[in-house]
């Protein structure tokens, strides 16, 4: 298991780069397992549209996104302004979903605390896009579920974009509060990312986190 780009605080946007008092963090874990091979070009398109949608919104200065790719390895990037969001997409093989939840959670909590100490008001979204079940994690499902349950209590908005029935079941078992059920078609995939960007923008405008109604616009 190779884990890249972990928990070096220098990877995240520094406080000096931020002009606002408020910030909305989104951790976005993206499944790059082999089962997604039919959707590579659509994913590349949709990630670009996701980025552009946020960049063109009034809220973009208040949004930082950490993209995490997971398959048989994990790569977690720092929390950056959306203009630095990487829109590349490639696939590998397995799905280490529970491991990316664990590693992503640690990084999110660490950065949130750092920002709060600097006087920032922080809202956070912990989001996963996946088409299926975990196949290769060291972290157990119960450990991953505990993390999501803790996030639900901490008012961190938990979001799962479930591409297909297997993923829907997985999301429910992990106690994600906001599950977007997406049929395994190209058009459904496009709608899903469109909805994700709009919901992120809507959350950024909201005074309080949209814990249970993230996808309601």
């Amino acid at each position: 298991m190779i884990i890249d780009g972990l928990s070096d605080q220098n990877e995240n946007a520094s406080i000096d780069e931020l002009e606002t008092e408020e910030v909305n963090l989104m951790f976005l874990a993206i499944d790059q397992s082999g089962s997604m091979h039919s959707y590579i070009s659509i994913m590349q398109d949709e990630l670009k549209k996701f980025k552009d949608s946020i960049l063109n919104s009034k809220e973009y200065e208040k949004i930082l996104v950490s993209r995490a790719d997971f398959s048989n390895s994990i790569k977690i990037r720092g929390y950056k302004k959306i203009d630095e969001f990487d829109v590349d997409y490639e696939i590998q093989s397995t799905t280490c979903l529970y491991d990316v939840i664990k590693e992503g959670a640690d990084k999110l909590l660490e950065y949130m605390e750092c920002l709060k100490k600097q006087g920032m008001r922080v809202k956070a979204i912990f989001a996963v896009f996946s088409d299926g079940c975990d196949t290769s994690s060291i972290t157990s499902i119960s450990q991953a579920r505990q993390i999501i349950e803790k996030f639900n209590q901490l008012e961190i908005v938990t979001v799962f974009v479930a591409f297909g029935n297997e993923a829907i079941n997985e999301a429910s078992q992990l106690a994600f509060r906001n599950i977007l059920k997406v049929g395994q078609t190209e058009s459904e995939l496009r709608k899903a990312f469109n909805q994700l960007s709009k919901s992120l923008i809507s959350q950024s405008k909201s005074v309080v986190p949209k814990k249970d109604d993230f996808f309601e616009l």
Partner: protein, 231 residues
């Protein structure tokens, strides 16, 4: 939001706005259960009123302030509980700053803080508390025997020349905790930059650092930094 407000379950009672060459803030009395209601309605109505006049040419007067205040009174005060309603809804400071022609004109009913930035970028914090307790405008409309000291028209009114002062910031009196503290100079540096986000973060940070001691700023704070942002 002041730490004592959090501790005692009181809403943030401080609000303000900028409109063209006007800055206005109102700071509710924490002993008024709903003073934030009176504050918000007053500020909203006052801003609406400002949109009907030419603030670049016409000086805002005490009568203008009273006109709006009396409208708010009519809205919020019930005849059978009028004393309680006066106390709970209408006890709030009003601070108004107008940049007009070659002057800053500042009017204060109650208490507050002015930050005067002179032409050499030196800052002075001015504590506006011209009576032992704040002289809220509402006291002009109450015949309470123990308020006899407040029944004269005592308010703060001052004109400052633009030849002497580059900027006048208005703030609620909660900001005065910073005067004389080790953070005063850092705060002045932020005022020079006039970046709203950074100033807000600075204040939040102090309350976070001191949270185990119930926060650095006990009272709510509103500061209006950048007049003439425009509509």
């Amino acid at each position: 939001m002041g730490s004592s407000h959090i501790q005692y379950g009181i809403n943030n009672q401080d609000f303000g706005f900028e409109y063209k060459n006007i800055a206005c803030l109102a700071d509710g009395c924490s002993e008024g259960k709903h003073s934030e209601v009176g504050v918000k309605i007053f500020l909203k109505q006052f801003k609406q009123y400002l949109k009907t006049i030419d603030t670049e040419q016409d000086e805002i007067t005490i009568e203008d302030i009273k006109l709006i205040f009396e409208n708010v009174m009519q809205l919020l005060i019930s005849s059978d509980e009028y004393l309680d309603d006066m106390r709970d809804y209408l006890c709030f400071t009003i601070i108004l700053s107008q940049k007009i022609k070659n002057e800053w004109i500042v009017t204060v009913y109650g208490d507050g803080c002015l930050i005067l930035q002179d032409i050499h970028d030196e800052f002075e914090f001015k504590n506006i508390n011209h009576s032992s307790t704040p002289n809220y405008l509402v006291y002009q409309y109450i015949n309470w025997k123990d308020l006899k000291d407040y029944q004269n028209e005592e308010y703060f009114y001052q004109r400052y020349s633009l030849n002497d002062y580059k900027n006048i910031f208005i703030a609620s009196d909660g900001l005065l905790y910073i005067v004389g503290s080790i953070y005063e100079n850092d705060f002045k540096q932020l005022l020079l930059e006039q970046k709203e986000g950074k100033i807000n973060r600075f204040i939040n940070k102090l309350n976070y650092i001191y949270k185990d001691g119930n926060g650095f700023f006990k009272d709510d704070i509103t500061i209006i930094v950048n007049i003439e942002k425009g509509e």
